[in-house]
C-alpha cells in the first residue's frame, strides 16, 4: 500500500494518534472524528500490512495465446474498431509493403540487367561481333562495293567504226517481242560480232523494209537470225537471198528481177546495217546511262 502525506492512511500507518501534530490532527479529523476510531482503523491497516497477502493468482498462459490470436483475427475483420481505423492501418501497412516491394524489385532488376550485360559483353563491346560496328567500318564497305561491282554487268563500249570492244560479260535475256531486244553476244574481240548489253529497255526493233518482191522472204527472216549472224555484207545477203529465193520458188526469176531483188536486199541489208548502227548508237547512249546509274 503506497500512500503519501495527502492521504489519511499515511498517518494511520505511520503515527499514533497522540503523535499527530495540530495540523495533521486537523487534517485527520476531517474523516476520523474520535481517537478510538483512529486507533481501530490503525490496527486493521497494520494487520493488513503485517499479514502477508494471499498468493495472488497468475493468469493461465493459454488465455494470452487465445487473446492474441483473437486480436490478429479481429484486426482484419470489419468488426475491429472503427472502419476508418482499420483502413488506416491497412493502408499504411500496404504502403510500407509497396515501398519495400518496389525497392527490392529495383534491386533485382538491376542485378538481372548487370548479368545480361556481362553475358552479352562480347556482342556489345567487341567490334568483331558488333553488327553495327561492321556496317560503320569503311573497310567492309569497300569490300562490299567490290563485290557489288564484281556482280555488275560490264558495259562494253563498242566503237562501231573500229569495232573495238571492251568486253565484259552480259547476261542473256529472252526476246520478249518485236519491240524489245535483249541478246547475249559472246565476247569476241576479233570477230565483228557485237556484244550487246542486256537491258530491259526497249529498243526499236530492227525491221527491214522489204520490197514487194521479196517481202515474203524477208518476213521469214527473224531479227534474231540477222543479228546472230552478226554484220552482213552484200555478198552474204545476196547468197542468203538466193537461198531464200530457191526455197520460195524465185529461182526462175529473170536477171532483171534478180537484180532488183539484190538491190532490194542490199538496200534492205544496208537498211538493216544502218538501222543496226543507228540502234547501236542508241544502245550506246543507253549503256552509258546505265553505267552511270551504277
Amino acid at each position: 500500500m503506497n500512500f503519501n502525506e495527502n492521504d489519511i492512511e499515511y498517518y494511520l500507518l505511520t503515527k499514533e494518534y497522540t503523535s499527530l501534530s495540530s495540523k495533521e490532527l486537523e487534517f485527520v479529523k476531517e474523516a476520523i472524528p474520535t481517537e478510538e476510531e483512529y486507533n481501530s482503523m490503525r490496527q486493521l491497516l497494520l494487520a493488513m500490512e503485517e499479514v502477508p497477502l494471499e498468493d495472488e493468482l497468475t493468469p493461465n498462459p493459454e488465455i494470452k495465446d487465445s487473446l492474441v490470436t483473437a486480436f490478429e483475427k479481429a484486426r482484419w475483420e470489419k468488426g475491429v474498431g472503427t472502419k476508418e481505423a482499420a483502413k488506416v492501418v491497412s493502408i499504411n501497412q500496404e504502403k510500407d509493403n509497396r515501398k519495400k516491394g518496389v525497392f527490392w524489385f529495383s534491386i533485382a532488376a538491376s542485378i538481372v540487367l548487370l548479368i545480361g550485360l556481362f553475358l552479352n559483353r562480347e556482342y556489345l563491346f567487341l567490334p568483331e561481333n558488333n553488327q553495327l560496328a561492321m556496317l560503320d567500318e569503311p573497310k567492309n564497305v569497300e569490300e562490299k562495293n567490290k563485290e557489288l561491282s564484281s556482280n555488275k554487268e560490264n558495259i562494253a563500249e563498242v566503237d562501231m567504226d573500229n569495232e573495238t570492244e571492251s568486253t565484259i560479260e552480259y547476261e542473256e535475256n529472252e526476246l520478249l517481242d518485236n519491240n524489245e531486244v535483249a541478246t547475249i553476244i559472246e565476247e569476241d574481240s576479233e570477230s565483228s560480232s557485237i556484244n550487246r548489253e542486256e537491258t530491259s529497255l526497249e529498243y526499236k526493233t530492227i525491221t527491214s523494209q522489204p520490197s514487194a518482191g521479196n517481202q515474203l522472204a524477208l518476213n521469214e527472216v527473224t531479227e534474231k537470225e540477222i543479228i546472230a549472224e552478226g554484220s552482213f555484207d552484200d555478198s552474204e545477203v545476196i547468197a542468203f537471198a538466193d537461198e531464200v529465193a530457191e526455197e520460195s520458188g524465185f529461182a526462175n526469176l529473170s536477171d532483171k528481177d534478180l537484180t532488183s531483188m539484190k538491190v532490194s536486199t542490199s538496200a534492205a541489208s544496208s537498211t538493216i546495217v544502218t538501222s543496226e548502227s543507228q540502234s547501236l548508237e542508241g544502245d550506246k547512249e543507253m549503256i552509258d546511262l546505265f553505267y552511270t546509274a551504277l
Binding site: I32, L46, A47, V51, P52, L57, T82, A85, V89
Partner: protein
C-alpha cells in the same frame, strides 16, 4: 524483436492503447502483460474468490478491448478506464446473483457463519485473510469496490472517483466507512494484542 519489445515497455498505457487502436498486436501483448494479473485478482476478490469465474471475467474483459478499442476515452487514464469496465462487469454479475439469491443465497452466508464462530479461537495469519474476505463479502457492492480498489489495487481517490463515476468526497467517505466497519468486526485480530499475547504465552 528484443528491441521492439523493449521499446514497448517504455510506452505509457495510453500510448500502448493508441497502438492497439491502430492494430498493433505487440502493444496489445504489452498491455495484457501489465494488467492481466491485477485484473484477474480483482475479479477474484470481487466475485467471491471464484478462480474460474475470475479467469472468465478477465478474458472477457480483454476481449471487449479487442472488439472495441475505439471506445477508450483518451481523457481518462487507461488504468481508470479498464477498472471501470471491470466494475461494470461485476455490477452485472451481482445483479445476476441477486436473482439467484433465493436458491443459493445461503452458500456464502453459511461459510461466513462457520468461520466467524471459530475466528476468535485461533491466531492465524491465514485465518485473518479469510476473515477479511468474508467481511468484505458482507459489505455492499459500492463499499467493497472502493475498499479493493483503494487497498488492493492501489488506486488514488481521484482514480476511484473516475472509475465509479462519483466525486472524490463520496469515495473518501466510503473508504473510511469501510475501514471503520471492518476494524470493528475484526477487532479480535488486533496485531498489537496478538503480539502481546504471544509474548506472554497465553496462546
Amino acid at each position: 524483436m528484443k528491441l521492439n519489445k523493449q521499446a514497448y515497455t517504455t510506452y505509457t498505457d495510453e500510448q500502448l492503447m493508441d497502438e492497439v487502436v491502430k492494430g498493433n498486436s505487440r502493444a496489445f501483448t504489452e498491455l495484457y502483460d501489465r494488467y492481466s494479473k491485477p485484473m484477474l485478482n480483482y475479479f477474484y476478490r470481487m466475485l467471491w474468490q471464484d478462480k474460474l469465474k475470475a479467469e472468465d471475467f478477465m478474458q472477457e474483459l480483454f476481449t471487449k478491448i479487442i472488439q472495441k478499442p475505439h471506445l477508450f476515452n483518451s481523457k481518462l487514464k487507461f488504468k481508470t478506464w479498464i477498472f471501470s469496465i471491470a466494475n461494470n462487469m461485476c455490477k452485472n454479475e451481482y445483479r445476476k446473483q441477486e436473482v439467484r439469491k433465493g436458491s443459493n443465497n445461503d452458500l456464502h452466508e453459511n461459510i461466513i457463519g462457520e468461520d466467524a464462530s471459530d475466528a476468535v479461537k485461533k491466531v492465524d495469519q491465514s485465518l485473518f485473510n479469510k476473515r477479511l474476505k468474508e467481511e468484505l463479502n458482507l459489505l455492499s457492492e459500492s463499499h467493497k469496490q472502493v475498499f479493493i480498489l483503494r487497498f488492493k489495487q492501489g488506486l488514488s481517490l481521484k482514480e476511484i472517483a473516475d472509475v465509479l463515476d462519483v466525486s472524490e468526497g463520496t469515495v473518501k467517505s466510503r473508504v473510511f466507512y469501510t475501514l471503520k466497519k471492518l476494524s470493528a468486526n475484526l477487532k479480535e485480530f488486533n496485531p498489537i494484542a496478538i503480539s502481546v499475547a504471544l509474548i506472554l504465552g497465553i496462546f
